[in-house]
């Protein structure tokens, strides 16, 4: 049998318009999930820094659970499991956004915690000694400095989460990978199509890296 494989560039190019129909889903789930994840991360990150155990423990439990289980299991649980509990179906896109939100939120909590802890205690003491309240000290002194340090790890998490959306093909979300699978089912050009899919992901993540680098550079020169 002739097993000589030849990469068919035409097949790869031809698949692109069909694949790009999945792009809005990939971007929407990533963006929506990360925005909510960022808010969750701030909330639970700050709670995990609290001295009182009844604030700290729930935050730690949340972080450990969502960091310690696979996001694939989490989305299957949300999509197939939760509807039994709440008595109503959840559509795949919503389930995907929720999964990205809670998963990235757990990692972002740790980013927030690390960022805040990295600011020298003297900064807080200086604020308090000037008569600022604890909240003012945090908001005007600690947070702006912590946030600047959080930008690189936040960008890192955004890239991870964007790639994680590829898993949601399993619950039928028409994102990039799912579009690829559907296309391949008709054309049997797996190598070329997955190659095109990979290039599209790379395009998204490289653009994001570039934007982050520009932003980081700007906020540094604005110091």
């Amino acid at each position: 049998m002739d097993n000589q494989f030849e990469f068919d560039w035409q097949a790869a190019f031809n698949s692109v318009p069909f694949l790009l129909k999945g792009l809005p889903y990939t971007l929407m789930i990533s963006f929506g999930g990360l925005v909510i994840g960022f808010l969750l991360g701030i909330l639970f990150g700050l709670l995990s820094l609290n001295k009182k155990w009844y604030f700290r423990w729930p935050a730690t439990a949340y972080i450990e659970i969502f960091r310690g289980t696979p996001i694939l299991v989490q989305v299957l649980f949300i999509f197939y499991g939760l509807p039994d509990l709440i008595g109503a179906p959840i559509d795949p896109v919503t389930a995907s956004i929720v999964a990205i939100a809670f998963n990235s939120g757990a990692y972002i909590s740790e980013v927030v915690r690390g960022g805040v802890q990295s600011i020298a205690k003297g900064q807080q003491e200086a604020g308090l000694s000037l008569g600022l309240t604890r909240v003012q000290t945090f908001w005007y002194i600690t947070w702006p400095q912590a946030f600047r340090r959080m930008i690189p790890p936040l960008g890192n998490q955004a890239i991870v989460s964007i790639k994680d959306t590829s898993l949601f093909s399993v619950i039928g979300v028409g994102e990039l990978v799912r579009q690829g699978q559907v296309y391949i089912a008709n054309t049997f050009t797996a190598f070329e199509v997955y190659f095109a899919v990979a290039i599209i992901y790379l395009g998204i993540t490289l653009s994001l890296s570039l934007l982050l680098r520009i932003y980081e550079h700007r906020s540094k020169s604005a110091v």
Binding site: G122, Q123, A126, L128, S129, L130, I141
Partner: protein
């Protein structure tokens, strides 16, 4: 004459270590009190108790008539006291994300509710007073150590404190910069500021 600081039988432990043992200390208005002593003898801890950056275990501590309870039990008094007591740290602790002028403006804006214009005017006046009027729009990292410490003094003065605490203000400075900071402190003392200074600078003492 009422004391600005009145400490009686103050005790403070760090675990097993009894750092402050039955301390009595009275400071009157306009007095400049210098505390010297070996490292680790509790000098810094003592002045940090006065504005509540450290809690103490027992005894009595009054600042300008406001009683500060042991173990951080008096948040209300603490807020009042911190507005009246300025502090200068060994490591300056300037805010690196703000300009020099903004460093000084922050507390007047947020604690005294001054408007931006007045706060900026105050900052410029204080910067002139500590001899670095031309550095207002730089960031702290662009200044020398001595200049940074002078900004820190100006920042504390912006709250118009009744008492200034200096926690080893020259210990982190290169020798040639010690003088400029001590000069500012001497001027302050001459103008009648009540000061409590922890230092190793025997010449100043």
């Amino acid at each position: 004459m009422p004391y600005i600081v009145n400490i009686e039988k103050l005790n403070k432990h760090f675990g097993q270590l009894h750092v402050l043992k039955d301390i009595d200390l009275q400071v009157t208005q306009g007095e400049v009190l210098v505390i010297i002593g070996a490292s680790g003898s509790g000098k810094s801890t003592l002045i940090r108790c006065i504005n509540g950056l450290e809690e103490y275990d027992s005894g009595e501590l009054k600042v300008d008539g406001h009683k500060l309870e042991p173990k951080g039990k008096s948040q209300q008094a603490l807020n009042t006291i911190r507005k009246e007591v300025g502090m200068v740290f060994q490591q300056f602790n300037l805010f690196p994300h703000l300009t020099v002028q903004r460093n000084i403006m922050l507390a007047p804006l947020k604690v005294r509710n001054k408007n931006t214009q007045d706060a900026a005017k105050l900052a410029d006046k204080l910067l002139a007073r500590v001899g670095i009027a031309n550095q207002a729009h730089k960031h702290p990292e662009q200044l020398s150590g001595g200049q940074q410490q002078r900004v820190a003094i100006a920042r504390a003065l912006a709250m118009e404190p009744r008492l200034m605490l200096f926690d080893e203000p020259t210990s982190a400075l290169d020798p040639e910069m010690v003088g400029e900071v001590l000069d500012v402190m001497r001027d302050l003392a001459k103008e009648g500021m009540t000061m409590l200074v922890v230092t190793h600078e025997m010449g100043f003492a």
